[in-house]
Symmetry: C2
Subunit: 414 residues, 2 copies
Amino acid sequence: MAAMTTRESLAAVDAADPLARHRDAFVLPAGVIYLDGNSLGPLPRATPGRLAEVVEREWGEGLIRSWNAAGWIDGPRRVGAKIATLVGAEADEVMVTDSTSVNLFKLLAAALRLNPGRSVILSEPENFPTDLYVAQGLVELLGGRARLRLEPPERLAAGLTADTAVVLLTHVSYRSGAVHDMAALTAAAHDAGALVLWDLSHSVGALPVDLGKAGADLAVGCGYKYLNGGPGAPAFLYVAERHHAGFHQPITGWLGHAEPFAFESGYRPAPGLARALAGTPPILSLAALDVGVDTVLAADPAALRAKSIALGDLFIELVEARAAGHGLALLSPREAARRGSQVSFRHPHAYPLMQALIARGVIGDFRAPDILRFGLAPLYLRRVDVWDAVEALVEVLEKRAWDRPEFLTRATVT
Amino acid sequence: MAAMTTRESLAAVDAADPLARHRDAFVLPAGVIYLDGNSLGPLPRATPGRLAEVVEREWGEGLIRSWNAAGWIDGPRRVGAKIATLVGAEADEVMVTDSTSVNLFKLLAAALRLNPGRSVILSEPENFPTDLYVAQGLVELLGGRARLRLEPPERLAAGLTADTAVVLLTHVSYRSGAVHDMAALTAAAHDAGALVLWDLSHSVGALPVDLGKAGADLAVGCGYKYLNGGPGAPAFLYVAERHHAGFHQPITGWLGHAEPFAFESGYRPAPGLARALAGTPPILSLAALDVGVDTVLAADPAALRAKSIALGDLFIELVEARAAGHGLALLSPREAARRGSQVSFRHPHAYPLMQALIARGVIGDFRAPDILRFGLAPLYLRRVDVWDAVEALVEVLEKRAWDRPEFLTRATVT
């Protein structure tokens, strides 16, 4: 089939794409093919105007009054309720707050308390590093009252022993893009008496997530990847309603108090998930996240998933047909149902190769030690973008264009 | 002296005020006298333009590349270094990150670890509530390995027993505006073998703070009050350089790792204070904070303090001369050296009184149970603003204008 695919044939499919109009909702610089929306989503066209409104009217004119008058105080719950519809949750089960790392800390501590008598946090060695780091920090703080145990994916089920309090997993791997079977793993954990905390950072906004149907207990997720919320957008957390009464997280800041403005000296947790809040939310960054979430809400989730799969299949097919013999090895699952919205290849010279691609305007990213990662966000990418990206990749490989001093020196962030 | 003071005489003093030009750096809505900059600083004129640049050029055009190219990754350290100059710290002793509440949690946990064998967090009952709440949450998480003990200010020194690990105090009281003697209390704590954690939220940007000279150990502070960083601006934390090697905080997110982009599975703390970071910082809110900090850096700190004192003395003098017999009782210290940049009065009808003032464009705030709080930010307020605010207060009191149903109903945030 690859032999029959042409740029023109792909352009024709793009023209009939029911999601095509969503591309216009974003600023996409000329000369750039952006395959890194899984690291930082692009700027929605509506964001600058909304931010100007928040800054100039709500802050500038409204001043302190905007906490009520402009609804700032309600932002974490209001934007959380929007995200809830993307992850199969009820409106009162999601809050926008803090960073993914801070939320992981809160929810892991809460999970240990929800499941007393059990001390193990079970995860896998290739989980997203911050998930493991945060678990390590909590375990160290608790000094012997908790442990972190890592098992490779194929041994997770066997690792569910009677001391397992919570299983900490990322739904879609940041490296390979492999998707965990959320429903099956959640059921297995529950059968063993454990809770599950899902990190949705690499899935929310790009593929269907149904926390409710899976019976998931806890979740966190990122606002600046497929949700297009802007650099460092606040993160979100999810706690299933059945756990709300027993949910207690340790960073008991004033916004999680039952009456923050009573200024009592003793902490009383707010009813429901408001107790998951700690300090004052960054309203400007939250406003940008709100707009970003709207860009995803505007699209049909089933169409997004179908296009994501089509883009991934096309990318793999074109790379394997046109770049054969250049040392690329597919890291992502070939089977679309097991793959998120990214395709990763290994290559011995992955770092300079990606720098050479970026210099040509094809922006993906490198992940240590040898991974080329290409995010294929279905909301704004076209099939011709995939074609052009592969053309650039083939050219870089054939001309060994990566083999230059300027591409071999590593920058801080890649 | 009050009898001789007129609006005209104050306008003449304003005209000669060496800080007068700084008022032009802010958007101050017509018809508003803003005495709540200690809760949310006003909008700097430079902020909308800078934000548009960050959003449209750095995010929109630069996309993921701006983490390096626009220096986003360096923001917490770079803006922290600016704040360091306002609090008597070295550039590498301050980081901008997270919220004040989250930073309190990190530093209290770190303090207990820096001072092993001691378990008590000593504070005062009228500390800012979130400080106490966060300490309570940490103590509960540590389950018996730490305790919170509260002593009134006059008994703090006596409360410094051999089990005191850290003293947690707010430099300027959010209620009364009373200033703690940072150097004396720090020395007393050190004499007793305890560390001190200062909350600078109600002092930084409005009065001189010298953590270095006081020999302070740890500090946190707020970005959205006198630093004019915008609603929910990120907070900052300070750790004296001598503690860096032993400093370990428990929310070990990826940005605090020695090599965040190596994606190792084990946490290794970054050298220096970078280990205080956890998740990805909210870049838009951080950019606004950067501009806000610049508005303070542009002014002479000694002139700011002198004017702050003059505004406070004037406010007290005018209220006591013109509103005598209306039930107002000064809560703030009369002695200027012991008072921060706010003046608080008690009144039995404080809540509706403040609502009536706000309805007239004089924006201060109410703090439970009976406090009228007036922030007197020297950077943008004039003596005639103080005059006009007192005129409005006198009118509201004399006409009992507060005694209306619409002012008696409490809103969520006040």
